[in-house]
């Protein structure tokens, strides 16, 4: 019997494989919808240069269903893109190389799709880029054809030149069981983005408020061309198509990151390709493309990628975030120098918080806050590269015990391409380059904590010493004096003062 092959639309594909995107059950779906919409809002604010001010509300409607409303003060979606941005899978602004939260701009649309298939209701979007008008759309997705269907459309006057987006949709979920994860997620966000303000009202009417504690944002990431070392066959084919006609050497110089004529020539000489050969020739000789990709990946003469396409949080902001949410006694923050793996630049930021509002973890656990491109990673912690490194480090060398002391770890990896291990994007694979940076970041932070703790221990022991002297010396002085029949008790207070002076100089030497 002949098998029937049939092309399916992108929307259909994701509908059939929705567990890949985090929609495997009502609990997980509730969490994923909140998360995706919130992240879209964050991106819209940051790319517009606005300090995020986000309001999220969940409530029960029509009995069992949940309705989510997320409102941001971002740059807004231009009118002509609104329908496709919310009603067509794989349409999005995230197809250039720069550090963004999502990769495909998929999550938001999956939320819309999920709402539609569980409640058969449209998503309601209101958006404005700050002009005279704001646009209101009710959209559904034609799953088989992957096209938006407009259910309602209106234009309103935009008072006060508001810019931003409001998204409202209904879905079947389970808030009661998703609550802990959602609140945990919001707290994670509040830590990594202390410049944002988040309000959340949950279906039980509980109000969560994460106050803004910084008035500046990290420098936004720049867009860059792909690095030759990280290129694959598909990308190369597209770049060739986009370039059109011209010489091979011009193609390399103009289409790739940090490739100049000198390096391009060197590369072409080594691969024995004619620099003046027309690129359209390449398109015709299909077998050449994989060979070229292999040569580009293996050539070691490329300049390393420029990390200006990355947007790390920065030590100051990270410390502010940790202090504001956890109120620890001590924080050590370390930002590693940019590095690369397979042509992708990345930066690792690490922090260790100790004491105060940080509590010792429960039996056998470790307090670990993981982030990739500012996205909190809450699942599969035990498979993450950070956990592997934490298990590997010999903490006793730093007089630290992550399992019994009130210690929390923070690890942020930002990259144009996060090496996720699975499609679920929940944990980072143990690429040796990434592992190395995480390890040395943790060790550097641990050294700072060790120094702090030893200083604190010294201070405490000096304090104890002073207290002991004050407690016992008067008795020693009195009984010794009576024992030898002297009249005047020796001045033990002078002795204590002398000891205190010693203590002070010792502490100064420590500082």
């Amino acid at each position: 019997m002949e098998e029937r092959f049939r092309a399916i639309s992108a929307a259909d594909f994701f509908y059939r494989n929705r567990e890949m995107a985090g929609f495997d059950n009502p609990v997980r779906s509730t969490y994923t919808i909140c998360r995706e919409l919130l992240e879209n809002s964050m991106d819209a604010c940051e790319s517009g240069g606005y300090l995020p001010d986000i309001y999220m509300r969940l409530r029960y409607v029509d009995g069992e269903a949940l309705e989510i409303k997320v409102e941001d003060n971002g740059k807004g979606v231009p009118r002509r893109y609104i329908k496709r941005a919310f009603g067509q899978v794989l349409f999005g602004s995230k197809y250039t190389l720069r550090q963004t939260r999502g990769i495909f701009g998929l999550g938001g649309k999956m939320a819309v799709l999920y709402g539609q298939i569980t409640t058969n209701s449209p998503v309601h979007v209101i958006s404005s880029t700050g002009g005279m008008e704001r646009y209101s759309y009710k959209i559904m997705v034609d799953i088989e054809r992957n096209e938006p269907i407009t259910k309602g459309e209106s234009i309103e006057r935009n008072h006060g030149q508001w810019h931003g987006t409001v998204v409202k949709l209904k879905f079947q979920g389970d808030y009661a069981r998703a609550r802990a994860k959602i609140v945990d997620y919001l707290r994670h966000v509040a830590i990594i983005e202390p410049y944002s303000q988040i309000m959340f009202v949950d279906p039980d009417g509980v109000f969560y408020f994460f106050r803004r504690k910084a008035e500046r944002m990290p420098r936004p990431p720049l867009e860059v061309l792909p690095h030759p070392q990280g290129v694959d066959v598909e990308t190369l084919r597209r770049l060739i198509e986009r370039f059109g006609q011209g010489s091979l050497i011009d193609f390399l110089v103009e289409s790739f990151h940090r490739v100049g004529r000198r390096i391009a020539l060197k590369f072409l000489r080594k691969t024995k390709l004619d620099p003046e050969m027309d690129v359209s020739e390449l398109a015709k000789k299909e077998e050449l493309i994989p060979k070229l990709v292999k040569a580009m990946n293996e050539f070691d003469g490329w300049l390393p990628p420029d990390p200006s396409c990355l947007s790390p949080i920065g030590s100051d902001l990270l410390e502010i975030g940790i202090r504001k949410e956890l109120r620890p006694e001590f924080v050590a923050v370390v930002q590693r120098k940019p590095s690369t793996y397979g042509g992708h630049p990345f930066i690792v930021e690490v922090a260790i918080a100790y004491g105060g509002g940080v509590h010792a973890p429960s039996q056998g656990e470790v307090n670990l806050y993981r982030y990739a491109n500012k996205i909190p990673l809450l699942y599969d912690v035990h498979n993450d590269v950070s956990m592997k490194v934490i298990r590997k480090i010999k903490w006793w060398r730093y007089k630290i015990s992550p399992e019994s002391m009130p210690i929390a770890f923070f690890i942020h990896v930002c990259s144009t391409k996060i090496p996720y291990k699975t499609v679920g994007k929940e944990y980072i694979a143990d690429r040796p380059e990434v592992e190395y940076e995480v390890e040395w970041g943790l060790k550097e932070a641990a050294r700072k904590l060790k120094l702090y703790l030893s200083k604190k221990r010294r201070e405490e022991s000096l304090k104890r010493r002073r207290a002991a002297l004050l407690k016992y010396l008067p008795h020693i002085a009195r009984f010794a004096t009576e024992l030898c029949g002297e009249k005047k008790i020796p001045d033990y207070e002078k002795l204590v003062a002398k000891e205190e002076l010693k203590v002070k100089t010792a502490l100064q030497r420590l500082a």
Binding site: R464, R465, A468, L469, K471, Y472, L473, H475, I476, A477, F479, A480, T481, E482, L483, C484, G485, E486, P490, Y492, K494, L495, K498, E499
Partner: protein
């Protein structure tokens, strides 16, 4: 000046010296420290000449500058002060009393009596005199009976009063007062130390004190320090020979040996041993000689103890070694009471005269 007065003056001087040492260091603006002889096993040595354990030359520092030591330093100074008060007022107290008295000082009170006992031992080793000399002693349990007239020197209420030790047929407790009393008149010609109360009583009832002109002492197991002090004085001041009667087992043998050579616990104190005292029996060799004597098999613990004692420096002469070997060979032991199998007075009528002749002859 009486013996008592001399000792009193000596101890008071030493305590005052200790106080002055600490006082001067503080007066000169230093946190005080003192040195005391180390009592760790590595510093306990057997002195061949004195035939007893003594402390070697190692010292340990106890400093108020070390916050781990400062509490025990304070306790030591307080105990010194307390002892000087006792001596001045002519009072004495027990180790238990001392512990309770410390509870009045919440800053440095003793956690338990073990802690206060340790500090007393520290003070003994610093001053080089037994705690009895600074009027702190354990509970009394050992007794004395015999024709000896003594004159009390302490407590002040009894000082100068005289008593003959035949006056109480139960025997008199050997406490600080008897141990430090002056000997006025003595009708006895020897001292017999008995390991246990039952035989002590039998000896009184059988009139041993008359028949043998003996002072009887019940050591009640290992002889307490006051008893050992008294025995040494009876030997030194009255020239009386001392004989010791114990069970025939390693524990009895060791009671005799400690009276003669001293104990390791008291290595820091001299003047408690009586090297001239003699172990009268029961020897291991007696078990072979008095074949009718009922015996018991030795336990594993008895045998282990014997093997330990065989290596002990106090047991190195040929007499002790051969007794130990005999015990190990027989693997039997006997109690003093086993003579009762031949009649209640057998031990007094038959055994005692023969052994006295054997030992002194």
């Amino acid at each position: 000046m009486t013996r008592y007065d001399a000792a009193r003056k000596n101890v008071l001087e030493k305590l005052s010296e200790l106080g002055m040492n600490v006082y001067l260091q503080m007066y000169r603006g230093r946190l005080p420290k003192i040195y005391l002889p180390s009592r760790s096993t590595s510093n306990i040595k057997y002195d061949e000449r004195l035939k007893q354990y003594v402390l070697g030359s190692e010292h340990v520092e106890r400093s108020a500058a070390n916050i781990r030591h400062i509490k025990s330093f304070t306790q030591l100074i307080w105990v010194s002060w307390f002892a000087s008060q006792l001596i001045r007022e002519g009072k004495s107290c027990s180790l238990r009393d001392l512990y309770y008295t410390s509870l009045n000082y919440p800053e440095f009170r003793f956690k338990n009596q073990k802690e206060s006992d340790d500090i007393i031992t520290d003070l003994e080793s610093i001053l080089g005199v037994p705690r009895e000399d600074f009027k702190i002693s354990p509970e009394e349990r050992s007794s004395i009976f015999g024709d000896l007239t003594i004159e009390y020197t302490v407590p002040p209420s009894h000082a100068g009063r005289r008593v003959n030790l035949l006056s109480d047929p139960d025997g008199k407790n050997i406490g600080m007062s008897i141990a430090t009393a002056e000997f006025v008149d003595c009708g006895a010609e020897m001292v017999i130390v008995i390991e246990k109360g039952a035989i002590f009583r039998r000896f009184i009832e059988e009139g041993v004190y008359e028949k043998f002109k003996a002072i009887l002492i019940d050591s009640a197991g290992q002889a307490p320090r006051f008893t050992r002090l008294l025995l040494r004085r009876l030997k030194e001041e009255l020239g009386l020979p001392i004989y010791i009667l114990t069970d025939a087992d390693p524990w009895g043998m060791h009671i005799a040996n400690v009276i003669i050579h001293g104990s390791a616990n008291a290595a820091h104190i001299k003047g408690l041993t009586t090297p001239e005292a003699k172990w009268l029996g029961l020897w291991a060799s007696d078990l072979q000689k008095y074949r009718k004597l009922p015996t018991l098999p030795m336990s594993e613990r008895d045998l282990k103890r014997l093997r330990e004692l065989r290596k002990d420096p106090r047991y190195q002469d040929s007499f002790w070694q051969s007794e130990i070997e005999t015990f190990l060979k027989l693997q039997r032991k006997a109690e003093l009471e086993s003579f009762s199998a031949q009649g209640l007075s057998a031990i007094v009528d038959k055994y005692l005269p023969r052994k006295l002749k054997e030992v002194s002859g």
